[in-house]
Symmetry: D2
Subunit: 366 residues, 4 copies
């Protein structure tokens, strides 16, 4: 219960350090009978993995996932599915020099205050490498949600530093190294990242995820609202500093006549609330956004302290992303998938017998 | 497990409908020996309660809390503390006319799709009235955190609709009906709310909470990060659509050289991260903000449907806040307190024996 | 999370002390649409309540349960159901004299070592009075299980001290004050209890519960086996020292050819395993037994210590059952009901889509 | 949440099938700073492992455990400890012939009713092989409990079929293949097992575990009593049908004057209650016993059904223990260790600040 298990009914228990022997997880609670093999999980891992383009970290990891249990003759059995990803590129010597010091805005200092010590190799457990197992686990959830309900979960980068990026074309997202849905802007992004790298700096990002096909009725009314659990899931991604549902923080400046989503027999007239009302899905598209802070590991020197408390100047070298937000797209999708899967199961546990006499209206009026 | 219990070790289980017999909760896991009486809990309830000024809903509720168990001779015993608040002002006839229809942007429609039926009296369980029990429960957490660690948790309204409100003076917050920390702006707020009411409209708000005195080391590294659990807690408040830690969504547009919080032996040089690093508290002030959407219950008519799916025009009457965000201040403080209390206990469960040899640096360099 | 919540999906959170203002609980996770009123819960409370015959404690408690929330127009809404039982007979002066001392084999000493203090009034939280709320909560579970699946849960006293009592006639159980299913033995029991009371002594008991109509497939294979959760539930009743499933402890002395339950198309040929195999229900009758230790509160003086650690002689007076096991029948039924309800929901959460092609065989071959 | 995670604060999540690629677990919540290597875990695995003598199954498994994470430079870091045991002896062809049929008293039938299908290779997840990971995980708990509190957890076989076996000599337990504490009886046991094997039959057993050095105050008063959690843990071992604390089922026949454990300044005068009072440890030795049913896999033919529901005669071949209870000793110790570790952490989470003014008395008066 040190917070390494996610979910109540579809439970993912994660383990592993960036530069240890392996990372992995145990997925408990998956319904039986789902066709599943490593080939279902690898594509999203490949989308997340480092070293794919010069715009992200050059660490090379095969990120090959192996299913150790819970699948027999190509189908889930209902027993725990263990996933293992061995670490292959463990250049821990990169980190030796920083062992006695704390990198500014890294988890090092907080870890030492909490645990008395830390695994300094590549950030150990605080490394974003841990998120690979979430992506792998969520591959199962995505598949089940898609096959059973037709749910589709897609993300894109909506902002990189000063550049806001519109959702122009879903198909473009996979065709550039920035998960950018506005292909005309890609050259600007290339220039921005090149500039940052040469300046020894980094930049934040905003990632948006849209889940369509969500049935009305998922979520719980009070503490474990669907949006609250999404917030927990998304804020639990490394470097995330803000989570929005629908209009998000902009709602603070809006009027009721502007924000409220009116309804008609033909469908909802708007989606400012992002598909959740009172903590429960409405059947509209689920809209989430997150802000990822700029990479803290930059080559511009910064002030810090060492383990004795003395002042030091830090300059992080190594293979870091100038914008960690880019690779956060499959991770954010993964967390949304885990939440939806969990709530789909929670919903039917309590409400499997419910017959609503009220017609469901479309997500959006034409 | 329908999401009405909050916390892992300091657990609050909430019950009750807006217009039922009573609302209340059971608080399980409180350390024994804490001096406690109703007088410790009532002040925050009074801060939250409706009908205090003409700028909030005119519903009258005494909101008197009664401790039913878990306290003996003025001290907690370590057994569950049951808190009960009876509903006194149950004018449910106000709601009869809306029983067959769904109010736009209300939880009604989602509830019916989930449960097949709903309690229409005052929104039933989806009413913000439920938050009174969170405030009551959090009074226990606030007291324990203050007495044991010196933690102080304070909130204020940072924005009402178009008006951004600075943190000028903590003492002013309790002296005006808007929880506004910039007393010079109060007349503007009065005008805004009066205008909204006459126009039959409402407005959103942003609320900020600051927790000082938090020890470094609280939180968990992966899923149950301190910030992730704060996000869960805060997004779980009615009408909240966005949660930010530190610079929040603005981090998306920032550079690493700007955002990273450098450290010196004299203390942290900035607090863009809001007091959390890698999901664990750093000992800096904890900074959270939330956006509350504009009240959906407004007198301007809106399009909706009835239970047969037919189009209707809705005009919500009754006693509603033109800006529900105002009264969210004690609620947001309460949720922060519940999270901190839970993590303080979680931390010592695992790490009570830890002796960190690394000096703790001040929250802020002078 | 101090252990006052029972269940994962059908969750009962209990509160209250024997001589406090009230006892009660919050039931979270109940499916919506179940017809429910206090009249459904009162009968089992009346079966458990003290003072009904001269063979049990003479404490008078009305044990009237009140539903505070979660029910609207006579049906559950899916939101938490709060149940309240006010304490009426709070003769705490009975307990004043024992305040500074520890009763032998009572929880007093353990409580003080754990919490530093205790509520001495009537045993406070350690009193069997707390079990009334379990009985009330389980009334909901019993009703749902019966209406949805036809599950019937019945208990009887199988042994009181030296007297073993056969299951001769289910109907007789409610017609004598001993929950005895062998009516011819009742006079012996009357004599035994009268003798014990005059001798200032008490006696243990064995209670058996049979649940019929349980579907095959409930339970989980590893830690949360159906039988393991039953053991948790039943050992969690005050004074229980042993739990058996099927042949129970006798299995240690049996041979495989004798114990194994063979199967035929006409049904199972025996039920030594008590309806559970590999932690999962087989569709046979579920058979559980518990041993309840003899009442520790007896008038025969015993050695003990006081709060300073000095030796004292204790003689417990007050209104105690000579055999607490008798009133344990509805409590044991209640705990079985709570486990079955929880597992019925857990099962459908994961396995709602399962279609087993293997025919179900009858519980028992003719 | 399909029941493959054990514990609330010291959490073990188990995975793996008998004849899959590997079995293993993730241990979350271990305090940091504990010296740990595979060498700490292997001895108990070796005690449990099959094929060690001719009196247990001849399956050969190296049962070598590997620590994949959570340990750095020989000490736990506070992050999840993943343990992996690869399956080496996967003679699944042994099981091909039984694939279409259900073995009497095996989990096969229940699994198929629950999940619609099953992994038939060696019983899959229902195999006692899964318990190896519990033993490995508990090695961590045993070490921490021993080093921090001096807790010692030891088990022995107290009965094999008709033969009751006294606790004569703890040292003898490890010196014979039966975990028998009465070395003079070993020849009888050898004869019994040889006879059973030649007769194609099996026999049950009773295993007792004693934990000494447990501090008073561990456990929770109501549902999660220390004894209730022990019952859950021990009934969760394959083939266990009864759990006793202290005098256990015998308490049903005892009198209060006989059973109650009186106290004196020199210590407790008896231990009928087995070290728990009101669900909380008293500081006495913790005494638990379990009954393990006779092995269901025997060569004497039995009646069963096949997947179409038709009658078949089954004769289980393969490498089975004539008495599975023998190897249950390290498993039972393991489950007790997991419960105690969990409750030690739970206790200090809530009660770390408690100072009891009442002297602790010795476990046993001299």
């Amino acid at each position: 219960m040190s917070g390494n298990t996610f979910g109540r009914l579809f439970c993912v228990t994660s383990f592993g350090e960036s530069h240890g022997a392996a990372i992995g997880c145990v997925v408990d609670g998956c319904p039986p009978g789902l066709e599943l093999s490593e080939a279902d999980l690898q594509p999203d891992l490949d989308r997340r993995k480092p070293g794919k383009s010069k715009y992200v970290t050059q660490r090379k990891e095969a990120d090959l996932v192996r299913i150790l249990s819970g699948v027999y003759q190509g189908r889930t059995t209902g027993t725990p599915i263990a996933l293992l990803i061995e670490n292959t590129d463990q250049r821990s010597y990169d980190y030796d020099k920083i062992k006695q010091t704390f990198r500014p805005n890294h988890a090092d200092y907080a870890y030492v205050q909490k645990y008395g010590a830390r695994d300094p190799r590549g950030g150990g457990r605080s490394s974003a490498r841990e998120t690979a197992v979430r992506v792998a686990a969520a591959g199962i959830a995505k598949k089940w949600l898609r096959e059973k309900f037709g749910v589709q979960i897609r993300g894109y980068v909506a902002q990189i530093g000063p550049l806001e990026l519109a959702l122009q074309d879903w198909d473009a997202v996979e065709l550039n190294p920035f998960f950018c849905a506005d292909p005309a802007r890609v050259p600007e992004l290339e220039t921005l990242i090149d500039t940052l790298r040469s300046e020894g700096d980094s930049v934040g990002a905003r990632v948006s995820v849209v889940a369509s096909g969500v049935l009305p009725g998922w979520g719980e009314p009070v503490f474990d609202r669907l949006d609250a659990d999404l917030a927990h899931a998304l804020m639990g991604i490394n470097a995330v500093k803000g989570v929005e549902i629908g209009d998000g923080m902009r709602a603070a400046g809006m009027r009721g006549t502007e924000h409220r989503d009116q309804m008609s027999p033909q469908g909802f007239l708007s989606n400012h609330s992002g598909g959740v009302s009172g903590g429960i899905s409405t059947g509209q598209d689920l809209l989430c956004s997150i802000a990822i802070k700029p990479t803290s590991s930059i080559t511009t020197p910064g002030q810090s302290i060492d383990e004795s408390g003395a002042a030091v100047e830090m300059r992080t070298t190594g293979r870091h992303d100038p914008c960690v937000g880019i690779r956060a797209v499959p991770i954010a999708e993964a967390m949304v998938a885990l939440v939806l899967m969990d709530h789909a199961l929670r919903h039917r546990a309590q409400n499997a017998d419910v017959v609503s006499l009220v017609p469901r209206i479309p997500s959006q009026a034409p």
